[in-house]
């Protein structure tokens, strides 16, 4: 398809006509090569792969082949991913050198290149399509349905797949109240962390006094280890935009903002393009599809501050100020951005809206658990075999997510914990793996849903070190406005620094618990209130590790430097000299052909010898 001139759509019927026209222009026989160019695959050279396919398609005269860049498929572990239609043949780990063979065999010859298919390591079964791969089998995709299928830079692709028809239906035949009721029936709860019922938030904002109202999409996905929102904004920006237009219609807002994290350049590019294309068709702007609803969206890039994911801090940032939160005794739905009623929802929440309006609230509510409806996207990462993005119905057990979809712990190590909810979440140990995942269950375990990061930890992970990591992260990101957060986190980090150096004192655990309770009760915003959760949950489930650090000055996982030493196993040492050559402080001695040893007085425990030794002769004791 060449660049088309986009004419303003004046009615809902125009949209239907356009959709039929796009479909009509498509050659149903045409083959299609879809290359994932999400950040993960792009980092491994997917863009070059796409260009080669594009070139091959342009040079080919015998067959008509469409080449498409798509967003993230989720199976980032095995990227770059290339899918060939018809048939949905899915190739993993594709390299530039493979393009020619795929073109010759699969595109032209309808044969499968077996070596590029995914093989299930446990059953050795070769999988041709996504449906056959265990990673995808148990997933249910509502939000991610378009990811990996649609070209995020072409609005026509989205429209052809039924995009914006929910909006057309809403403005044509639904009153704002009907939209609200439908969302209410769906039971949708905010996907950003809090889990507040979306319809209630919308209704409060609509009922709030004031003529000018705003809606905001929170794309400041700051939780380390989480990239759901990034993948949605990159891979299917129009579903977020459509959700916002519908929400604005229900609320009565004329202006919307998408606040995107600065570290996500591709998301900004795709959203900017998508907004411009939607404007050309009149899907944004005055009198959308001939209705009385007028609405536009502006995209703002964040400045790189974690606290700006908090709603009031985000609004301060949108006003061109320092991102400091304020107390919320007056809710932002009544007085938010520029002191006007403002509704703020997370990217994934907005992305659910078109499907809810299209299929009905009851359909959405049929998925999930009693109080948590629908699906949830998780970024399954850490020491798990299949790193990637997964979307599962609420209520699936942690065990199924980690073992069935994630393929279990990497390298045959033992599972220790899964951390959910980002820096404000907690660590859930093995004994609770059979817990169904929903908002309430995770809270009960002392963690939370958060935005959906799920970080798997194995036996080599030190839980004290992880808690320290999160406290350091939050201390650095604390805005400094309220004392409990500013001073409390500094004190906690101080204690952690001592413990991990082997200078822990009796009573440290109690002090940490006390400080945690103080933060929860006295901090100003959610960042501070929940900052101690990683500490409290690791103390709750892994108290013995803390005790070993404090009482025996020992780190059982051998992570905390100072609480273990490096030694060379004389039997395994081949005297190759690599460790000696690489040691930055000349702490390794040994003659040629003699096993080497480490001079402990000189060793700074940097771990270079451990990493470099080709024979695993350097050991931690």
């Amino acid at each position: 398809m060449t660049a088309r001139k986009r004419k303003r759509l004046k009615t809902a019927a125009d949209l239907k006509k356009l959709r039929r026209k796009i479909e009509g222009e498509r050659d149903s026989e045409a083959k299609c090569v879809r290359v994932c160019v999400g950040t993960g695959c792009a980092a491994k050279g997917a863009n070059r792969i796409y260009e080669q396919f594009l070139q091959a398609a342009e040079e080919s005269s015998s067959v008509k082949v469409e080449t498409k860049c798509t967003g993230c498929h989720g199976f980032c572990e095995r990227g770059p991913i290339v899918v060939v239609d018809p048939g949905g043949i899915l190739y993993v780990g594709v390299e530039e050198a493979d393009v020619e063979e795929i073109w010759r065999e699969t595109v032209l010859g309808d044969r499968v290149v077996k070596r590029l298919l995914y093989t299930d390591p446990s059953t050795e079964q070769v999988c041709r399509t996504a449906e056959e791969i265990p990673f995808y089998k148990s997933q249910q995709r509502i939000v991610l349905a378009g990811n990996g299928v649609l070209d995020p830079t072409r609005i026509e692709d989205y429209i052809a797949a039924g995009g914006y028809s929910a909006l057309a239906g809403a403005v044509e035949s639904m009153k704002p109240e009907d939209v609200l009721n439908e969302v209410e029936r769906s039971g949708l709860r905010g996907r950003g962390g809090g889990g507040f019922p979306t319809a209630r938030k919308w209704r409060s904002c609509r009922d709030a006094r004031g003529r000018i109202k705003y809606v905001i999409c929170n794309g400041d996905e700051g939780d380390p280890g989480a990239f759901m929102d990034r993948s949605i904004m990159e891979g299917n920006p129009h579903c977020v935009i459509e959700g916002m237009i519908i929400g604005a219609y229900a609320i009565g807002a004329k202006q919307g903002y998408i606040y995107v994290r600065n570290e996500y350049p591709l998301a900004v590019t795709h959203l900017t393009k998508a907004v411009a294309q939607a404007r050309e068709y009149g899907l944004l702007g005055d009198r959308i599809l001939g209705s009385k609803h007028s609405f536009d969206i502006r995209i703002n890039r964040g400045g790189g501050a974690f606290v700006c994911g908090e709603s009031t801090a985000l609004m301060a940032s949108l006003e061109g100020r320092v991102g400091e939160p304020r107390a919320k005794y007056v809710h932002t739905v009544e007085s938010g951005l520029r002191e006007r009623p403002t509704d703020l929802n997370n990217v994934e929440t907005w992305a659910n809206i078109p499907a809810i309006i299209k299929n009905g609230g009851d359909w959405f509510a049929s998925v999930g658990t009693e109080n948590s409806k629908g699906t949830k996207v998780f970024s399954l990462v850490g020491k798990v075999t299949n790193t990637g993005l997964v979307e599962v119905p609420m209520g699936m057990t942690l065990r199924r997510i980690v073992e069935e979809i994630g393929g279990g712990v990497r390298g045959g190590k033992a599972f220790k914990a899964v951390q959910t909810g980002g820096p404000s979440g907690g660590c859930i140990p093995a004994e609770h793996l059979d817990t169904p995942v929903d908002f309430d269950e995770l809270t009960r375990l002392g963690s939370m849903m958060g935005s959906g990061g799920m970080i798997v930890m194995d036996e080599d992970t030190c839980m004290v070190n992880i808690a320290q990591y999160f406290i350091r992260f939050l201390k650095d990101e604390s805005c400094g406005k309220c004392t409990p957060c500013r001073e409390g986190l500094a004190q906690m980090l101080d204690i952690f620094d001592r413990i991990t150096r082997g200078e822990g004192k009796a009573g440290d655990i109690d002090t940490l618990t006390e400080l945690g309770a103080l933060l929860e009760g006295a901090a100003l915003c959610a960042l501070g209130k929940t900052a101690a959760y990683p500490v409290l949950s690791t103390i709750r489930y892994f108290r013995d590790e803390y005790e070993k650090h404090i009482e025996e000055q020992r780190c059982p996982a051998k992570v905390c430097r100072g609480l273990f030493i490096y030694e060379i196993n004389a039997d395994a040492c081949k005297a190759c000299g690599i460790c000696k050559k690489n040691c930055p402080v000349d702490a390794i001695v040994g003659e040629k052909k003699q096993p080497h040893s480490i001079v402990q007085e000189k060793c700074t425990k940097c771990g270079t010898c451990f990493d470099k030794c080709p024979f695993d002769a350097v050991i931690k004791v």
């Binding site: 980092a43 939780d223 989480a226 400045g303 790189g304 501050a305 061109g320 100020r321 990462v381 470099k612």
Partner: protein
Amino acid sequence: MPEGAEVVREIVERYERDDGMLIPMMQDLQAEFGHLPPDRLRDLAFCLEIPLTRIYGVATFYSSFRLAPKGQHEVTLCVGTVCHLKGAGEISEAICREFDVEAGGTTPDRLFSFQPVNCVGACALAPVMIVDGKYYDGVTPASALEILQGLPAEGEESQSEDES
């Protein structure tokens, strides 16, 4: 310098002199000059008729703003949870030690600016290092140093100890 002031005026006009758009203005300014030169911030305060302290407050609060010129190359190291689990801390230490640079600083020879960031959202690639926009996956302390030692420099370069 009238030329620099002209750039500032143009950026301010781009956003219709709305001081609510201060952050995008400063982002544009940084894109233009590579950092935020003090003189241009003064121009910005003058154009918008707002106190310079507010601009400095914003410039120092958000980690993406830089008040000093950056190095020839830009090195970003992800230190998000997954990268941390997989050893990003050691990589950061190795870089700081080898190149005599602080996190957030620039090497003495201005070869590169080193910025550890909290997760770039590419966890499947962990640990990740980004050099001038190019992503490197599965980085180790040794491979990180190798990549950085291979960076083309204009002036003299530090001693190299590649083995492979």
